[in-house]
Assembly symmetry: none
Homo-oligomer: 179 residues x 4
């Protein structure tokens, strides 16, 4: 699954052949098929595993009893940390276009849902600007994900963590309640 994430991050889902994945993992193609029924299944398994790992952290952050501003900061920090530690896994699940069947798409929405719940709560408490939660998500994830994206592209220099403050400040400017 690591090899899958790595290669699919670099060459795209279609561009990563089973043969290449197997070689990357140091086994033969046949061995891959003993553990995964098809490329599709392997792809889904690799995807879900990373998403799940991320989701746990995110859920913990969302449920912390600290001001929304600090939870947003934690969210950004944790995301960048993950990217710096596992750039391929991060790129694979969050920066690669996916074409998955519904069960896995549902899993892919875990983080978004957690985020939206957190936002709704904060908005009700008046600690966040009123704005359609989907739009909040859109703006937040747009700013957040663009940093790894531009690092991958070579436009920005890593590690991502160094941009935490600037990113948090930017999103907070967008989201904080108006005086």
């Amino acid at each position: 699954m690591d090899a899958t994430a790595r290669l699919m991050a670099r060459r795209g889902v279609k561009g990563a052949s089973v043969r290449a994945i197997a070689r990357e993992a140091g086994v033969t193609e046949g061995a891959v098929y003993r553990h995964f029924a098809s490329k599709e299944v392997l792809y889904a398994a690799a995807y879900v595993r990373v998403i799940r790992e991320m989701a746990e952290v995110k859920k913990a952050i969302a449920s912390q009893q600290i001001p929304i501003e600090r939870r947003l900061r934690e969210w950004v920090r944790a995301s960048f940390e993950f990217f710096d530690r596992h750039p391929d896994a991060f790129t694979f699940v969050l920066l690669t276009p996916h074409d998955l069947p519904e069960p896995q798409r549902e899993v892919g929405r875990l983080n978004s849902n957690t985020f939206i719940e957190m936002v709704k709560d904060a908005q009700q408490g008046g600690t966040l600007k009123p704005m359609r939660p989907e739009l909040v998500l859109s703006h937040f994830s747009g700013v957040l994900l663009n940093v790894p994206r531009l690092i991958n592209e070579g436009t920005l220099e890593g590690p991502a963590l160094r941009y935490t403050d600037e990113v948090v400040e930017a999103v907070w400017d967008m989201l904080r309640p108006r005086p």
Copy 2:
């Protein structure tokens, strides 16, 4: 080239076979190869054509003699309008991962460069918050592009133009000079 943009937007660059592109265009594979030496060349031609069209509009906007805030708004509006009118072309060039040789990558940077020049000017005039221009670009394009992205995903409802105000407000919150 239209068919190419359409299919590559939907299935990715590798996922769009020449056969499928030809069928989409209503011709045979052989006919495609009369006009383009290879899939690579066809891909690059389709890409460059859309980028060039976008770049013209963007350049015109950047050089308008109006406050930066209004130019940013125009930029967003023009982008969303383009997406609403040519969702496939937009998705193809801006939301699809590309693996192009340097000459085309250079073309792909046209819009970014225009944007960065515009930002630098405004920052010198004090009408924009001081911030690394690459980061301004990152935040701006992050928020901007995420709207079409989420519309494609089904998370947000189109047309994109309806989000112009909210997007402009958000990016202005991030970028306006501090009092």
Copy 3:
């Protein structure tokens, strides 16, 4: 037809595409098909034209009223001269494997037949060693053609004409009547 001989000599019959032949001739593919019904027909026409031109010279040589030894020398000289002047045409008809239908194969045997008649005559006159005429042809053409062949290969340096004496001497050693 010139372009055909040239390209088929260099790339083989299958390796010379109609498109390449047309370009070499400075016309388009369509134009080729106005004059020749098919590649097969073009191929045969180019082949026959060169063979016929060679056959005329050879027939004249064979019927000269001079000693067989001198006629053999003329045959060699004329062949090498033709090769030096039209290496592609020579290579095309004599050094390229052919897969032609019977009518053209018949034409291709013109020179062999002329040669064999000449040999039979000389043998009857006792001016040539008795030996199966087909074998005489085999030995003679083997030595003769190998010079252009090795020149093409780069093993021998041209022009071919410079080898006339040595080749004539060699074939005469093989063919002259024993004392």
Copy 4:
């Protein structure tokens, strides 16, 4: 590799498609590509294998401690025997025009080099007529190879071995030292 030699001998290098080779070998195209990276590689492998086999025999002959005349005879005999036993392999490597990259061309020169060394030695010992070794090779191989060539063409009747004496006599006439 056998199937490759067979088909390339009959239809030429370009005329033998991978599909046809695979069918001839009783496997599918994919299977061919498991063992050979490309048609080019398969072609080279088939070529080198036959050349190597021939070269061994030739080297053994060249180094025998018998008069040059007898070594030439052995060379002819061994060649014809090989042709009679493996007409396709022989035709493929020696009677088919090749377009190979340098490493394989080098291998293809093995026999020529062996022959030329043998000739030089004999000339120094005075047991062979003084003549440029390349020309000796040209004449010798011209006469030698033309027998299989004409047999393939249908002009001469096989087996080739039956022509051994006549061929040896002919080449000896050309090459023996003058009294």
